[in-house]
């Protein structure tokens, strides 16, 4: 009889609510600690490196603006996604919805370059929202009608959207004066989402993100619709008995999250890039999934998580330049953060137990530990 050194997870009777709230903070702390060790191994003063990474970007008006630019699409998309995830609809395709929103909104300035008045911008935003909603409707419809797995369909639609964008900026949307280079014309003043303050580049996308957070927070905590979404997510059977429609909810949450992603897309295209290019997002739609879970699927938490993730990008660039470390450092920190969040969550809900059969050596191992 060999001693059994197996380790296993056992579900705790009741998880601590206090710890459930604190787990992102514990994870943040652990990320800083191990990130510091990493910097020390690379031969940098860990405190200085962490200061450059996480505090310096917050000390400068310019970089605060940049932080907002980076955070606003993440927050906006993640807020929409939290409705999906809360109701048990796994929309992984926000990236595609963002791209389609960007394309739909950009169609106006591309085809009507001379249409310049105050009404063009609101129209572009509405088109962007509609574009995102249309793209999100497809997986929702397929799920309801044919029972397809929305994780797969929404994800695959991301690649279709990406290739569609790639084609359209070389084809119908291409700048005729652009030497055949891929990309649309640059938007004119009326077609650009303006800056909110005179001190930097932050545009009205941040305002949309804040409004989105408040709307979803209100929806989830104060309305019947919000209650319905949560019941259907946690107890679909109970939801049906209560007369809630799971299919209607699927359509609703996909449309809302598609609208948010589409708005983020057109805000990015119109505000930050100011033209349509072969690539308009560095993966905001995917990173927003991390933001949504880091923020506990809670709109207010998502706001904070969006800032943290945006900071991990900006700080990554800052240390890259001032300490000459690789650009992969941002990915490492994001990976550490996600790993520790998942680990903390797991340990809050489970406890670790070590090889029973070793402790009860004489009784023999009867548990199927391996």
């Amino acid at each position: 009889m060999q001693p059994d050194f197996s380790i296993r997870l056992e579900k705790r009777g009741s998880a601590s609510t206090l710890f459930a709230y604190f787990s992102p903070f514990i994870a943040l702390g652990l990320m800083l600690f191990f990130g510091g060790i990493l910097f020390a191994i690379m031969g940098h003063n860990p405190l200085h490196a962490l200061y450059v990474y996480f505090l310096e970007p917050l000390m400068d008006t310019w970089s605060l603006h940049e932080l907002a630019i980076k955070a606003s699409p993440l927050i906006l998309i993640a807020t929409g996604l939290c409705l999906c995830f809360r109701s048990g609809n796994w929309n992984i395709g926000a990236e595609g919805q963002l791209i389609m929103g960007g394309i739909a909104g950009a169609a106006l300035p591309v085809f009507f370059p001379t249409y310049t008045s105050f009404s063009i911008l609101p129209l572009m935003l509405i088109f962007g929202i509609l574009g995102g909603m249309a793209w999100a409707f497809i997986p929702a419809f397929l799920k309801n009608r044919f029972g397809t797995n929305e994780i797969l369909t929404s994800l695959m639609l991301v690649y279709i959207a990406g290739h569609f964008l790639d084609w359209i900026v070389r084809g119908p949307f291409r700048n005729p004066q652009g030497f055949n280079f891929p990309g649309s014309i640059s938007f004119s003043e009326w077609q650009v989402l303006p800056e909110m303050l005179s001190s930097g580049r932050m545009h009205y996308g941040m305002l949309f993100a804040i409004i989105g957070v408040l709307v979803v927070w209100f929806l989830l905590s104060k309305t019947m619709k919000g209650f319905e979404i949560q019941v259907i997510g946690q107890a679909p059977r109970a939801g049906r008995f209560a007369g809630f429609s799971p299919k209607g909810t699927t359509i609703f949450v996909f449309l809302v999250s598609g609208a948010f992603a589409g708005l983020a897309g057109i805000a990015e295209v119109s505000g930050a890039i100011q033209q349509l290019r072969p690539s308009i997002s560095p993966g905001y739609g995917f990173i927003a999934i991390i933001v949504a879970f880091l923020g506990r699927l809670n709109p207010l938490g998502i706001f904070a998580a969006g800032i943290v993730l945006a900071l991990s990008f900006l700080g990554g660039e800052a240390v890259q330049i001032s300490l000459n470390v690789t650009d992969k450092i941002a990915n490492v920190f994001q990976g550490l953060l996600l790993f520790f969040v998942l680990a903390c969550d797991t340990l809050i809900h489970h406890k670790i137990s070590f090889g029973h059969s070793w402790r009860f050596y004489n009784k023999g191992a009867t548990h199927g530990a391996r």
Partner: protein
């Protein structure tokens, strides 16, 4: 008394020299040159060569430099460029086509900083210059080599984006090949990326499966060279000498040597003589260099050296008529040379390219 005077004079001279030295050092230390790269400096291709240029600037002029690698083209690029402009860089090199709009946007906000944008055509303010290399000159040499060395008469071309720079290279390659074998075939695969080793390797495998026994590429990694080494087909290095990744198969490589240009431009900033311009650097001044001719028959190497010398001395220009477009219409009459405008905006294939240009 005499001795005292001599000591005094020498110490004054010493002090003067010392002061002079300090001013030079101070000037060098005051100038900061910054670089934005689209790929990682470890791509051993495009971005690697730009970074070699940066290191040469550091070594030659003793100035401070900084760089940021893998900067995506788009909104992030503007931040990267502005960060450099704010952090005291005097001259900023943005080394990918997709940085054109952000470079011009930031340049307007920082009129005292000089900007150098590679491969672009927009110079919206006085402090923006553009520069590029006539890489197509090397492509012509490669095409000639390919036609002389290929057994199947088919070469494969891994292309990034259908922009003029890339189309020009493809056309120049096939023209070089046709100068040896008028029936030479060129297959093209578009990977829609500058740096994606996985996709580049897939494309290389596809092209080999389609009968290509010579590979060339307009992407930034060494993946195609590694596939060639594995499969035993010949290949050309791109942007950098890739002989270490294909020691039995690399025929030659087009090396982008940015060092002379970067040193010249940073020095111009230090001297206060920097002026806006648009240059297209070629073989003649040593900015486009061919790697040693290896793994080929001696007569091929000889022919390659001859045509290289002719291009270098500007005796020969690859885009000289008669040239027919892919659709069969005449582009250049016998002896006619292409005008720069058409070359810069090239959006058509010449006859012999076995591909539809993505439109």
């Amino acid at each position: 008394m005499k001795k005292l005077l001599a000591t005094f004079l020498s110490s004054v001279a010493g002090l003067g020299l010392g002061l002079l030295a300090t001013t030079i050092v101070a000037q060098a230390a005051d100038t900061k040159a910054c670089f934005v790269y689209v790929g990682p400096i470890g791509d051993f291709g495009w971005s690697y060569q730009h970074d070699q240029g940066r290191l040469a600037v550091e070594k030659e002029l003793g100035v401070e430099t900084a760089y940021q690698e893998s900067v995506p083209e788009g909104a992030d690029a503007e931040r990267a460029i502005e960060r450099f402009a704010r952090s005291g860089c005097n001259i900023i090199f943005t080394t990918s086509f997709g940085y054109m709009e952000p470079t011009n946007k930031v340049a307007k906000k920082f009129p005292d900083v000089k900007f150098e944008h590679a491969t672009g055509f927009k110079r919206e303010s006085e402090n923006v210059s553009t520069y590029s290399g006539k890489f197509y000159q090397g492509r012509y040499v490669q095409g000639k080599i390919a036609a002389m060395e290929s057994k199947t008469g088919v070469a494969g071309y891994i292309a990034s984006f259908p922009i003029p720079e890339v189309v020009r290279g493809i056309n120049s390659f096939i023209l070089g090949a046709q100068s040896v074998n008028p029936d030479f075939k060129l297959k093209v695969v578009w990977v829609n990326s500058w740096f994606d080793p996985g996709k580049e390797a897939d494309a290389a495998n596809t092209l080999v499966a389609q009968g290509a026994d010579i590979l060339t590429q307009h992407t930034d990694s060494t993946a195609a060279m590694q596939v060639a080494q594995e499969k035993g087909v010949k290949a050309f290095g791109q942007a950098s000498d890739m002989i270490n990744f294909g020691k039995d198969v690399q025929l030659t490589a087009i090396i982008d040597d940015w060092s002379p240009y970067y040193i010249e431009r940073v020095k111009a900033v230090m001297d206060g003589t920097w002026k806006q311009h648009d240059v297209w650097l070629g073989m003649d001044k040593g900015d486009v260099v061919m790697a040693p001719y290896t793994n080929m028959k001696p007569e091929t190497a000889k022919a390659a050296e001859e045509i290289e010398a002719k291009i270098k001395s500007n005796e020969f220009e690859p885009f000289t008529g008669p040239i027919t477009k892919q659709d069969g219409t005449e582009w250049l009459k016998d002896g006619e040379k292409a005008d720069v405008g058409t070359l810069l905006g090239m959006n058509f294939y010449v006859k012999g390219v076995d591909d539809q240009l993505p439109q």
